[in-house]
Subunit: 659 residues, 2 copies
């Protein structure tokens, strides 16, 4: 092991193992996760060349091969618990998306949730046995987050008792579904249902798209891959165009809404039924943000511990770059953010499971709040992780730009989460809608509960407290900082609501007023989410028994909170929560916290417990032996397979003769 | 043409042609640029398949082919003026880097500047005729920006009158030089010169690395490609390892320093001689930032004009997404930034040329200031453009993630500029060093000149002006805002200098004190650069004659300045340049400016005048016909060349049989 990184580990003040258990949930969960990861990593059937050295077609092929193996092996080993499936799957694919993702994660669950018993009978076993490989075809070339705008039509023909699917415009071509391009032979297609001369809105249809024997596209179906993307090289995101494709009446998923043989339409009893899945997926994305950022921080911090550069003191050895304050300033707030998001992710999963119980009892009381929270936190965490991964990459200098660092891969595979499952700005505005509504309810005397209860006093507080009455914010007092975040959120929600009101009073229509205030509304949602994250991080500390682990996490929580205040100091000053004279103290305290995190930085990323195989990063190796392995990696890369590249003979040699 | 985008152009309030001339310099320059771009775009020898559909090896080969053609054609057409060469070259390679970049941009100029007449005789014509293809091998696996740390050795052996080159450690392997991996047969190698038992520091040597007849590596030379990167797929960045490679004494570049036959060392008369090139390259990078961001804004704004989504008013048609305030808030400040950086780039080029005249006369007076400015602005503009390109991509939703948008390519090919030619944080600290030095000079009574002259009063002003005396900053008054930026910079430079002083007074060593204040120092540099950008944008307005163009540029300048204030409001509040009660006015004004830019947004990006061939973006097409062309592009992509991918037969079909 590299002596620098060994010394870092020796100097840590806490047990990484205890912290790993906290991140996993408990000791047993850590054990089981490691067991599964081990099972995969030691399995020669999952070995293949570094994906960075393969063409896109080869990468897709490697992924199909692994997915096929994975299905067989999970059956063989009896891996069936959803959490364990997730763990096994992400070990196999190293956290990347894969061609069967939508089959497993959307097609099968949709059948389970929206198909009638008869339909389940017909489709479920074949799908389980991969005779039917499905995808979920929702977004179109012209519409993403705004579902009502989708244009694909399914028109019922009572004469033959069939639905006729069409893509009436270029913009109606289905676009982006994973696994659609080459892999799937069926799709759940979201289409506007037309029957008895009326449009009945979006419904889901099971549509065969490729022959189950030859795998060739069926008549009327034009289907293919949408071409190379920033990342997701293993996934065949596809397009799908229908020209009078007929499916039997029984292929509309009819558990809720129905079309009778004569074309009579029966609508679904409630539209909240698909609500839960959306909330669930967005909650899961919060966890994805945490994982992506924790991987990136692991790589950047380990590398910064073994990289020596420049000189601090003339004549002395070059310091580890982790000793530079500017490097700490880049990486440690991101490390703190990764921890914060891990805990927020845990909270979201727990809350979802808790509320699911209520929902199954028909109690939807808490759903709107969870829905608003999931939307906002999805946006808040993905944006922060997205920018943070790139900061980590750039903090590794030139070598971060090499594919051997894995940082480019982490970025390109994570960044779509800012867009999919609800475009982030749209998500922030959804949260804002809930906040403004809550604010108005509170103003009108209603007593709010849950996370927005702070709005009960927002209006009164803002009217009574002059700016000069800024409390002496204490940079060491985490509960006090949580309170400051809360009041900042209250102040910005109130401000957005008032600006909105002012637009309405000018006679603007509701929608125009909303659009003219959108910037303020997003800002309010952002402050709300920021408050929730700080609060959850702070609450998590209360659960931590071990005093050494508690101490290091408390430092991170304080760093996270103060860093946010220094980045948005204008907000805190504007809300009267901070005075100008306190700013130097905030800056000073931040620098102290960087120094305090420094000795534990490597141990803190070790606690994320990513095996080298999962990181796949030369810079982030556990043993710190970066340079020799970088050289090895380069030597194996495709352009070095021949001593002289053929372009020399084709273009350079002839040119030399000519000149 | 798409009717939305036609309407946008019809509604513009100014002549794009006039603005294009301003961006190019004058009407004649616009004409000549278009002529050259046309020459390249209509030349069938430069046609090839979309690079996104090629493997890395094919991309490298396509680039070599184009570079070879380019050399021939530039001779044929007599393109020899440096600006015209630049224009021709970037038209051929669409602004991308290419395998001969370092031959043309570093190897040849180094020969011209540092070789003796005898050496020029020997190397220049063969290099001009590409018998010698060179690269510039400076950075090593273990050292980048910190040049003194380089470890490659060149030891003089008087017995044979040769230098013996060695890579004594893994970290000393040359790493990253473009064209080194496969293309070059010679390298200018930077190595620590040892002669007569002493190390004499870094010197440059011409080292043959591959046979000029077979192109195979020469004995003792291990050379290859460093493997795939985030971008730069056309460039063979390489590694180079020496084991006792001998070159004749005459291969050390000896125009300045010399080694005599007996090994006696004569040092160079001045170390400022290589200073100029560095400043020049960093100044050029400011222009690169402007171009990259203007391309990205062009794509995002044109696409936002043709993309319709969601509903503002129930029952009405879906609006162009450019009508959403949140979309304007994302894109218009970036558009303003692209303009600001264009003008800063022009200024840097002009200043460099002006000062070069002085330098050639032996007058180095202005060089330190230009050096500090180039370092800081290189960092400031590349960071802003880097983040801005990604904002543009994400503002295009899912389709921005497709390679057909070209936004991923712009990003991955631009982002290394944050690292190369001086890592950005190191650059900011270099600028800070100059600022602190200037501040101390001013405090000690020296009268500063040039751009830092504002520091003459920084100290006095901060001591005399209490925070409560905040002037009533006027959101419409651009000169007033420039003044505010100036005072903010002064305040942050003073703050950093004082914090540094406080550390020294605690008894810390100079270097440790510097490191403990690094975060403040970077912040001060950032504020300084921000001030310079705002000031230069404002000054540029004075040159603009046409009142309509003036009006639209003035709006952009105001937007740029106010957006910066709102983003860093804490700084302005802290410096007493703004009061809390003014913040709502700043927000309100910003929203008004977004609305004012809106009708001219498409015309403003049209004025950047990128031909479709140069943008290579389906989303950014001039005619706005996005969707049909996206579909066409996808259909042509590699995975669609066969109806059924071979992995189906290899893995999926057998699996279906097993389950």
């Amino acid at each position: 092991m590299n002596p620098d990184i060994r010394r870092e580990r020796e100097n840590a003040t806490f047990s990484t193992e205890l912290l790993t258990n906290i991140l996993d949930g408990d000791q047993e969960k850590t054990r089981r996760r490691r067991e599964i990861v081990s099972l995969v990593c030691s399995d020669p059937d999952f070995e293949h060349e570094d994906l960075n050295f393969l063409s896109r077609s080869e990468r897709y092929e490697a992924a199909v091969k692994k997915s096929a193996q994975m299905i067989l092996k999970m059956r063989e080993y009896g891996v069936s618990d959803p959490e364990e499936i997730y763990c096994y799957k992400s070990s196999v694919h190293r956290g990347r998306s894969e061609p069967l993702d939508l089959h497993l994660g959307m097609f099968l669950p949709t059948l389970l949730n929206q198909a009638t018993p008869e339909q389940q009978e017909r489709f479920l076993m074949p799908a389980w046995n991969l005779e039917i490989i499905g995808t979920y075809a929702q977004t179109e070339i012209g519409h993403g987050t705004h579902l009502r705008g989708l244009e694909t039509t399914a028109t019922y023909d009572p004469a033959t008792q069939e639905f006729v699917l069409n893509s009436p415009t270029v913009t109606s071509i289905k676009w982006w579904p994973g696994g659609l391009g080459k892999t799937a032979n069926h799709a759940v297609v979201l289409a506007q249902l037309h029957t008895q001369g009326k449009c009945r809105g979006l419904h889901a249809f099971i549509v065969p798209i490729r022959s189950t024997s030859s795998h060739k596209p069926l008549p009327g179906v034009e289907v293919g891959d949408i071409g190379p993307k920033f990342g997701f090289d293993e996934v065949d995101n596809g397009y799908l165009k229908f020209a009078n494709v007929r499916v039997p009446r029984g292929n509309m998923l009819m558990k809720y809404a129905q079309v009778e043989p004569d074309g009579t339409y029966q609508k679904a009893p409630s539209d909240k039924l698909t609500y839960g899945t959306m909330v669930f997926i967005r909650s899961m994305i919060v966890g994805d943000s945490a994982r992506a950022l924790s991987k990136a921080s692991t790589i950047a911090i380990r590398y910064s511990a073994v990289r020596h550069q420049s000189e601090l003191r003339p004549g002395e050895a070059e310091p580890q770059i982790l000793d530079y304050q500017t490097q700490q300033q880049k990486l440690f707030p991101l490390l703190a953010t990764a921890y914060a998001f891990q805990f927020v992710g845990q909270y979201m999963t727990q809350t979802y499971h808790r509320i699911t119980g209520d929902i199954n009892q028909g109690d939807y009381t808490e759903l709107p709040e969870l829905h608003a929270l999931a939307a906002g936190l999805k946006a808040f965490t993905t944006w922060a992780a997205n920018a943070g991964i790139e900061e980590c990459r750039m903090a590794c200098g030139g070598h971060g730009y090499s594919r051997c660092s894995s940082l480019p891969d982490i970025y390109v595979n994570f960044t779509p989460s800012c867009t999919y499952e609800g475009e982030n700005t749209v998500m922030m505005l959804q949260t804002a809608r809930y906040l403004v509504k809550s604010y108005r309810q509170a103003r009108d005397g209603q007593q709010l509960r849950g996370v927005v209860s702070y709005l009960n006093e927002a209006d009164r507080r803002l009217r009574t407290q002059p700016v000069s009455a800024a409390p002496q914010l204490d940079a060491d007092d985490l509960p006090g900082l949580v309170e400051a975040y809360k009041l900042r959120a209250a102040s910005l929600v109130a401000l957005a609501a008032k600006n909105l009101q002012a637009q309405l009073q000018k006679g603007k229509r509701q929608e125009d007023a909303w659009n003219s205030t959108a910037v303020d509304l997003v800002r309010a949602s952002d402050a709300h989410c920021h408050y929730v994250v700080v609060k959850l991080f702070s609450s998590k500390l209360e659960e931590v028994q071990d005093s050494e682990v508690h101490s290091v996490l408390a430092t991170l929580a304080l760093l996270y909170a103060l860093h946010g205040i220094s980045q948005r100091s204008g907000d805190f000053l504007q809300a009267g929560l901070l005075s100008v004279s306190q700013l130097p103290r905030v800056s000073q305290k931040l620098k102290e916290l960087l120094a305090r995190v420094r000795p534990n930085a490597v141990a803190l990323v070790d606690a994320f417990d990513y095996r080298d195989e999962m990181l796949n990063s030369v810079l982030g190796r556990y043993d710190g032996n970066v340079y020799e392995n970088m050289f090895e990696w380069a030597r194996k890369s495709p352009l070095n397979r021949t001593e002289v590249h053929e372009s020399y003979y084709k273009y350079l040699k002839p040119l030399q003769a000519k000149l």
